[in-house]
Symmetry: C2
Subunit: 307 residues, 2 copies
């Protein structure tokens, strides 16, 4: 068995863990979204195109891992885990649109509007966002999760996705693009654009699994820290990453004057911040037992990832 940095035994083989959970999420996603048929087939085709374009399934896996970290069942959270991926995918489609970030490539594939046209891409995003809530209100979930808890989860995720979270972050991101900003603005953007849904993913899993208030608080802090670290690693990969591995051109952020941590803090300070965020994330889990091991490994993985 491998040893981790502190010399103690690795409790999880992260690669195997991620592969297993990703396969579980992929199968659930495959089952939850209708095959394109009928007159409006084009929109479900576009929804599926982006949903199955090679996503890491980080948010669903965090939801599952969040439930397991407090002793709950991962698979029981699957409809919500899938909903998180639908919301994430919608946000990518809309962010890539010409009127927003105008990106042609995502994960090595042409973006939705490049394949289906702008109108269909817009509708595919709308369809995915709406379907997320359809999914979270499935009657099957309430066999395992109390309806009252599920409503809390829906509200929690809607809060993270809407103008208080992702939508607000994207708004500020666009407004300030190409302008000189300080740390508060970049923090505002990234905690909302990336951090909010990542945090909601891990805490939603724990909520469904009946986590205690102190467990939820710990997982919230964990989520906020890895969410920010994840975005910084995205920003760093845009500078130092390999375009082929990433599946998109690098250097794009600087070219369009995107607001990133490296652009505000510089590369070296951004890396320092990233390490301290990961440390804080792992520290936040101190009160949790070995069932939180996958979350600790995921935190470390964020710094090491290449795509």
């Amino acid at each position: 068995m491998r040893k981790n940095r502190k010399g103690s035994k690795h409790i999880v083989d992260l690669r195997a863990y991620l592969n297993e959970k990703r396969a579980m999420v992929d199968a659930a996603l495959e089952a939850c979204l209708a095959k394109p048929e009928g007159l409006a087939a084009e929109v479900t085709k576009a929804m599926r195109y982006s949903l199955f374009a090679g996503g890491k399934r980080l948010r669903p896996i965090l939801c599952i891992a969040g439930a397991e970290a407090v002793g709950g069942s991962g698979p029981d959270t699957l409809p919500v885990a899938c909903a998180l991926e639908l919301i994430h995918t919608y946000s990518l489609i809309h962010d890539d649109l010409p009127t927003m970030d105008n990106d042609d490539l995502r994960r090595g594939k042409p973006t939705s509007h490049k394949v289906f046209g702008e109108a269909t891409a817009l509708l595919a995003g709308d369809g995915l966002l709406t379907e997320a809530f359809y999914l979270m209100a499935s009657p099957e979930i309430t066999e395992r999760t109390a309806p009252q808890t599920l409503l809390k989860v829906i509200r929690h995720i809607a809060g993270a996705a809407g103008y208080r979270g992702m939508v607000g972050g994207q708004m500020v991101d666009i407004q300030w693009e190409g302008k000189s900003v300080g740390l508060p603005v970049v923090e505002f953007i990234h905690t909302r654009k990336t951090g909010a849904l990542i945090t909601a993913a891990v805490t939603s899993g724990a909520l469904m699994a009946g986590g205690t208030t102190s467990q939820l608080r710990a997982l919230n802090a964990y989520g906020e820290n890895i969410g920010l670290a994840f975005q910084i690693s995205d920003d760093i990969l845009d500078i130092e990453g390999d375009a082929r591995t990433l599946g998109k051109a690098t250097g794009a952020d600087q070219k369009v004057g995107k607001i990133t941590y490296p652009s505000v803090l510089g590369l070296s300070k951004s890396k320092e911040l990233q390490y301290s965020l990961i440390e804080a994330a792992i520290g936040a889990l101190n009160g949790l037992d070995e069932r939180a091991a996958p979350l600790r490994e995921i935190a470390r993985f964020i710094i090491e990832r290449k795509k």
Copy 2:
């Protein structure tokens, strides 16, 4: 007291009824959506701009009237009623975008993207759609509505708004614009684009009020019929209406080759169909008592409306 067509007494003064309910909905909408503040203020500003641009509040009123028709409390449905208006408003903002219908004017005012730009309009739509679900999962509602029922309502409305409903209808509408189509296509578009959310509005109200299966079936038929009649009256107003009263240019549908009932059936046959739909809608309510009177009046109003 005025007499209606069949000579029986008018049970409701529809104008007063609509005014009272609209004021109730407006106050609730005002309270539910945050005042624009902070870095992302622009997006809530845009959300509020379209939400308070003079909508008739037809869907919220149908939700309230649906609850009252089966003996429930209208005000108890307000968070869901407001959510319906948020979803309706989001759909208008996205439909008006240049990549979709490219409309500059809506209810006599410049459309969202004309005022705020395309990116903000897109985000305002996303924000409104997401906020609708945030609102429907409010903890306050569960004091009056069982969480299990509320989940049913959320799923019902998400189903009507997503690719099975509005999004699917808009998809087909765009794909077939300018092409020659038959009745099945125009029916497909209008039952989904307009009918689905209108039907969901009235049945959601009844669901929350504990309506019986047969009441829900009746209200569903009512909703489907008025939904289609409402869209036909929209199409007819675009031909025969007064641009000043409507707050937008008329004749636009024909100019861009929009798929409408008049374009497929002709004006006279469309009017006949509209009357028979309204008759069917009122007929569907036969098993309901005088508490469904506002719904009957609303059905009649759809034909008479000038905007």
